[in-house]
């Protein structure tokens, strides 16, 4: 498991904080899963200070925070939001989202590269939410990114890994870069498959928060990530087209 901007994470599970039935359920999901990282966001505060309750809750989780720039549609907007997040959450980690398509929330590659360059120069440690596009990946790395977060499938779709070829390709072309499959993961088997391919972590939110039982689903995802990690490190048996007996054929009795 690669380091994230020099930092070793205890495991490869990153979990979002949105859409849980209640704050208590969210807190349990984090406790039970032991997720290494929590993604958070920013919104307009009102005079009642309703954002502070969430803030207290999130600090109590005692987990690494990764603020995002969700909802930003331009580089400028994302850059300003990143600065606000850095001050507010006291971290230079930023999950850079620049929405390019309103329906699918697919990232805008041009604005993403631009924002990544500016933010990297401003000392941010940028985690760009991107597609599996190799060329955009290369530009993001040139822009200063040491981590990439290619999607598995559209946000909230629970479709899993839509383009396994593309994901294998991006993973293999940049062996030094830590990578997180972000978005689209719906089931533990998707998460395990991503880690088995060589990805360092997965980031998911709605698959946990919107499951019937978010807490046990969070645990399921933690198990899946561990399973994938162990398998990746265990040198798995390669698949092959032909079959072979798994019981030795020596000393076979003749009973027919």
């Amino acid at each position: 498991m690669r380091r994230f901007y020099g930092e070793m994470l205890p495991n490869g599970l990153m979990l979002g904080t949105a859409q849980y039935p209640s704050p208590a359920v969210m807190a349990s999901a984090f406790r039970e899963s032991g997720a290494a990282v929590a993604t958070v966001s920013l919104r307009r505060e009102n005079a009642q200070g309703s954002g502070q309750v969430f803030w207290d809750l999130i600090r109590a989780l005692d987990v690494r925070l990764l603020p995002n720039t969700a909802g930003c549609h331009s580089a400028k907007e994302a850059i300003t939001t990143a600065h606000m997040a850095r001050e507010l959450f006291s971290t230079d980690w930023i999950k850079l989202e620049v929405i390019g398509h309103a329906d699918t929330l697919q990232p805008d590659p041009v604005a993403l590269i631009e924002a990544a360059r500016v933010l990297s120069q401003d000392g941010f440690k940028v985690f760009p939410y991107c597609t599996e596009d190799l060329v955009v990946a290369e530009r993001l790395i040139e822009a200063g990114c040491e981590v990439l977060m290619p999607w598995g499938a559209p946000i909230g779709s629970a479709l899993g890994l839509n383009n396994p070829f593309g994901l294998r390709s991006i993973r293999n072309h940049f062996p030094e870069i830590a990578m997180v499959v972000d978005a689209g993961i719906g089931l533990p088997s998707h998460a395990a498959a991503a880690i088995e391919m060589g990805f360092d972590a997965v980031l998911l939110n709605s698959a946990v928060a919107k499951a019937g039982d978010p807490v046990s689903m969070a645990r399921a995802m933690a198990c899946a990530v561990e399973a994938g990690r162990l398998a990746f490190d265990s040198e798995p048996l390669p698949a092959r087209d032909m079959a072979a007996p798994s019981t030795p054929v020596l000393g076979q009795a003749f009973l027919s």
Binding site: G51, I58, T80
Partner: protein, 65 residues
């Protein structure tokens, strides 16, 4: 007395600085601020003069994915 927008709502305010505005409007917790789409760090709020028509954003932590 300038008219500014705070989080999208237009208000007449007496505060001359961003710091004063936050106090007058009762924001006491952890917030981050931007004026006219530019980030204003906490350390500069006291010296940041507000002008007629400024668009102030005051953001707090929230859930995110």
């Amino acid at each position: 007395m300038p008219t500014i927008s705070i989080n999208g709502e237009r208000l007449f305010v007496e505060a001359q600085t961003l710091e004063a505005l936050l106090q007058d409007q009762g924001f006491s917790g952890s917030v981050a601020t931007a004026v006219n789409e530019n980030f204003v760090p906490q350390t500069l709020r006291a010296s940041h003069q507000l002008n007629e028509g400024d668009r102030v954003e005051i953001l707090a932590p929230m859930q995110g994915g």
